[in-house]
Symmetry: C2
Subunit: 351 residues, 2 copies
């Protein structure tokens, strides 16, 4: 743990978060969902998607870009699909609802595929695919937002870094959970580096001149992983989500019809596959266990003492932080204090 | 064009390919499908998935690992999904059938998601997602095979490099078509380097000692792109396909129950999303056009004279080769000649 970090209990942090959002006008149940998803990210060590986002969310509510009391509506439906209008809901509020719908559709149709239009920042997407895994299904979720990543060959942003996540249930082991962006590093890691006052590695991002930068404050565009692969995947995910629900997020900025304004309007897809419609779920879980055991037992490459399966490093962090509290950098604590003062919410004990 | 390559007309190459497969016992219509998919790959410059594979396929038929007269059966079905037992069919034969089924399901259910069990090498997967795009739908396809790629942190193969492809229809432009492996380079590119007698770049693959090699003949395991990202995606695609249809391909090798034998048993998913169920297809196509135009007009990064969208470089190669013929390296020509002699099929004119 770094010198400039303090640890805070998960329940205290969740209570604080819920109280802040209630004071932005959000119903208590939705505030609970929002707090759960943010603190879950912190517990897993994905601090870039945790409570560090609270001050930004509050500003977004002020500006009318995030809606604490949205009118969430199912606007289209088939046997296996659904389109949900989010009305700028906080991401976790509409996305947990959407994944529940996907799971319901999958029960009957084998797969449930749900589009979410006009949501706001969704937090750590792994939470939603994990919801499916916890019901014995496979879960998929991905996101599109306005441009924040340079497509391969460009020196300015033109695509999103479209996080994508896939989960599958195990038996002895915890579910496999892949949660990755199509950029080399998630956007929130830039914010975290700012809060920690540390530089970012070369190759993560470009500045506004299109030059590679290591100063997180100068970042104008993320870089895609694998060049044309990350870039191409990001382009196609926009085609599979935003464009199908007629809400393009890249085109308006690319064609100069809209400025890139920094507000996080998002479209998304969450999907569930009903494993039990195809095979014995218990047998499936055992195969996942065997796969995990087999992968971890492979001979290690030089410099590696262990082979990790998707989600495993985050599970270890979870266990540590669940017991010992969540470390927060001073930058984050100080920005949370400003929010606490504004809304007259007591800071979590220890902070 | 390299000195040691000759060009052959697409029709001549297709006729040759069809005739060879008819002589392995395949019905003419299936041989036509197989030839179409292989030559399509060559036309697009994806030579690693083109006619270079013919000698291997012939050997696989000899060994009973590819079935020229399969009993393809639909074994399970829901409103939106289907499981197809391929009976070791040549990949293109069952996969074109499967994508037709996915398109049919999508018409009613919004999405069609079809699992293929026990197929053999499927060629260039982009062909199948493009089938959906040609019907005004979005297409997705991916593959799982026994281990051929080292998971992040391992020095031997433990996962597959699971190619994944996504297509979307445009209006003025040709469809967007992403077709990528989760390895740094597709496995067929190793074969192509052998046929061309050239080294491979560092970072593509490991030899059997687990050391990075540039000799394509020494390759024992491919390397994943983006470290844990490519590796994690490959693991999860096995969970989304093979394990759901109860036909694990990684586990038996990982647990030592099966030797990695080099025969290309594959499972696969092909899916179609019915754009017209959600929005006006013509409007969708225009949005894709605008997206393409917008991306291509972005300021270029240093060293780039053009920004390419997914599928665009291959389309240019296609146009050239459609007019001017397909160049084949001498290694490939010589191996095709052996096949021609065996089956008493005339080599394509010019070869």
């Amino acid at each position: 743990m770094a010198q400039n970090e303090v640890r805070v209990g998960r329940e205290q942090l969740k209570d604080f978060t819920r109280e802040v959002f209630i004071r932005t006008g959000m119903p208590a149940r939705d505030a609970e969902t929002e707090a759960t998803v943010l603190v879950w990210a912190n517990l897993r060590g994905v601090d870039s998607h945790g409570v560090l986002r609270i001050p930004f969310y509050v500003e977004e509510v002020d500006g009318g870009y995030m809606n604490p009391k949205p009118n969430i509506q199912v606007v289209q439906e088939t046997a296996a699909t659904m389109v949900i209008e989010a009305d700028l809901a906080f991401g976790p509020v509409v996305t947990t609802f959407a994944m529940d719908q996907a799971i319901g559709k999958a029960k009957e149709a084998g797969i449930g595929w749900v589009f979410i239009r006009n949501t706001s920042h969704q937090g750590a997407m792994g939470y939603y695919s994990l919801m499916a895994a916890e019901k014995g299904m496979a879960g998929i979720a991905f996101v599109c937002t306005p441009p924040g990543m340079a497509p391969h060959g460009a020196r300015v942003a033109g695509v999103d870094n479209s996080p994508i996540t896939i989960a599958a249930p195990a038996k002895r082991h915890r579910p496999l959970l892949l949660d990755m962006a199509t950029s080399v590093a998630a956007g929130g890691k830039i914010d975290l580096a700012i809060d920690k006052g540390i530089p970012i590695p070369e190759g993560w991002a470009l500045d506004k001149e299109g030059k590679v930068t290591t100063d997180p404050r100068q970042v104008a565009a993320l870089l895609p992983f694998g060049g044309p692969k990350g870039s191409g995947l990001a382009i196609m995910l926009e085609c599979l989500s935003s464009l199908i629900i007629n809400k393009p997020l890249l085109e308006p900025v690319l064609l100069g019809k809209e400025k890139q304004h920094g507000h996080q309007t998002q479209n998304s897809v969450v999907a569930a596959i009903n494993i039990g419609a195809f095979t014995d779920v218990d047998g499936y879980r055992e195969h996942i266990d065997n796969l995990i055991d087999g992968l971890k037992a492979l001979p290690k490459a030089g410099g590696f003492s262990e082979i990790f399966v998707p989600g495993e490093p985050e599970n270890r962090t979870y266990d540590d932080r669940f017991r010992n509290g969540i470390p927060l950098p001073e930058g984050t604590v100080s920005r949370l204090r400003t929010v606490a003062e504004r809304f007259k919410v007591k800071m979590p004990s220890g902070l």
